[in-house]
Amino acid sequence: MPRVMIVDDDEFLHKVMSRILALGGYEVVAHAYNGLEAYKMYAKLEPPPDVVLMDHRMPIMNGTQATREIRRIDPSARVLFVSADESAESEAYQAGAAGFLVKPLRSTELFDALKRVLEE
């Protein structure tokens, strides 16, 4: 079962996204609520998650900064952005994002994107 880490500053989103991912056959192995926490958590996870679902706009450290840090320690890390901020797309890809989804999205969009990212 593919292992996913969710990074978002909204607690309720973690709850519903975990249920959605479970429906799609994904296992959520870690929850982080800002970019700094995400980066530190990623470094400790063994094995690392198969995909990181990353929000962009978060306190302390945003998603693109966190992506750069994560990919610095693991260049093979797959980070799929799920963000309300469309304008962050090019910055996310420059940071090394594997994909960029704009909220709000249906579960089918999420699962299609996850499948695509995992196959690459």
């Binding site: 909204d10 309720f12 989103l13 519903v16 996204m17 249920r19 959605i20 429906l23 706009r57 799920v82 309300a84 901020d85 909220k103 709000p104 999205l105 249906r106 579960s107 089918t108 969009e109 299609d112």
Partner: protein, 357 residues
């Protein structure tokens, strides 16, 4: 009118002008100031006469004024200047005006200045810009947070549909709720984009509208997981238009509208493209087979915020018209079958193209 009468009138104009009028000698000293010097700078005429005008300017404006005088003396003409002066009470006065040169019958050079006090106007502009910046930040925050809330609601409803064993009527209600969330999300996005277009303008670059259309279709399909959106017809690649990602939004809105109007499990969307070579315009027709738009709705769907279809689409029809207009084109709604609105609507977007295949 005789010369002396004319001279008297000119004198009255200068004496009563609401702007500050000064004449400076070749050393930059004030040889004449009209009465507005008191109301503008707070100084008496006696204080000002014989003093270098620069004495009343803030340090950063002295070099600007010197530069303007230098240009007037060397090349003639009129120099526009914006200066910051210090009033007698110590407060700052913003002056907007011009400097020009005059030679008298003895070839003596005089520098003439005419300034308006724009202090209040500048303060108002600063306040407006500050408020716009704050409103813009607020709009970003509201847009972001509402979009996140919409995501949470969408996911929560999908969990209910996926995990809960709901009665059919409750399941239908949840699907309807998902539709309302979609409408809310479109509204937030459309309003944010409309405001941004008004404030920041619209930057365009060459792009292939066929790619835009394909991206739009691929972005709409996942939004309707219980429907199959089938494309018929072809959007030929190879045309180049000056546009940006908002063109994809416009296409996505119209394709999405077909899904909203057509309640069928399979939604057929036709696309066709024709070229008006004479006008270098592309006509892109997007049509659906579901219920169309009544005649009274065909115009108002783009402009009227209360139009039911525009409301269902969260004002994104207004955004479509604004985007297409910004690209130098236009959009109209027609019956797919002429004269019978019940058989579907056709939207025709006309766009100028810069290259054709």
């Amino acid at each position: 009118m005789n010369d002396s009468k004319m001279d008297e009138l000119v004198r009255l104009v200068v004496m009563n002008a609401p702007c500050l009028i000064l004449i400076l000698d070749e050393d930059g000293k004030v040889v004449y100031a009209n009465p507005a010097v008191s109301s503008t700078l707070g100084y008496s005429l006696d204080r000002v006469l014989g003093a270098p005008f620069e004495e009343f300017l803030r340090p950063r404006s002295k070099s600007d004024f010197q530069e303007a005088v230098r240009k007037v003396e060397s090349t003639g003409g009129l120099q526009l200047v914006y200066l910051s002066a210090l009033k007698r009470d110590g407060s700052v006065c913003d002056l907007d005006g011009n400097v020009f040169g005059l030679r008298d019958e003895h070839e003596n050079m005089w520098v003439c200045c005419c300034f308006y006090d724009v202090t209040k106007a500048k303060r108002a502009m600063t306040m407006i810009r500050d408020r716009e910046r704050k409103t813009s930040e607020l709009l970003k925050t509201v847009t972001h947070d509402l979009t996140s809330i919409h995501q949470e609601m969408t996911s929560a409803f999908e969990v209910l549909l996926g995990e809960g064993e709901l009665r059919e009527d409750l399941s239908n209600m949840v699907e309807d709720a998902l539709g309302e969330v979609r409408r809310g999300s479109r509204l937030v996005s459309a309003v944010a984009k409309l405001v941004r277009m008004d404030r920041e303008g619209f930057e365009a670059r060459p792009m292939d509208p066929a790619k835009c259309f394909t991206n739009a279709l691929e972005s709409v399909r996942p939004k309707y997981p219980d429907r199959e959106i089938v494309l018929e017809g072809e959007f030929p690649p190879g045309y180049v238009v000056n546009a940006n990602e908002l063109l994809c939004d416009a296409f996505a809105t119209l394709i999405g509208l077909m899904a909203e109007l057509d309640g069928s499990r399979t939604v057929v969307v036709d696309v066709s493209v024709t070229e008006d070579r004479g006008a270098s315009m592309l006509e892109i027709a997007i049509e659906g087979h579901g219920p169309g738009l009544k005649d009274e709705d065909k115009e108002s769907v783009f402009d009227d915020y209360e139009n039911p279809v525009n409301r269902v689409m969260g004002l994104s029809m207004t955004l479509v018209k604004r985007i297409v207009g910004a690209l130098g084109g236009d959009v109209r709604a027609e019956d797919r079958v002429a004269g019978d609105h019940r058989q579907g609507v056709r939207f025709v977007i006309r766009l100028p193209y810069v290259e054709s295949p």
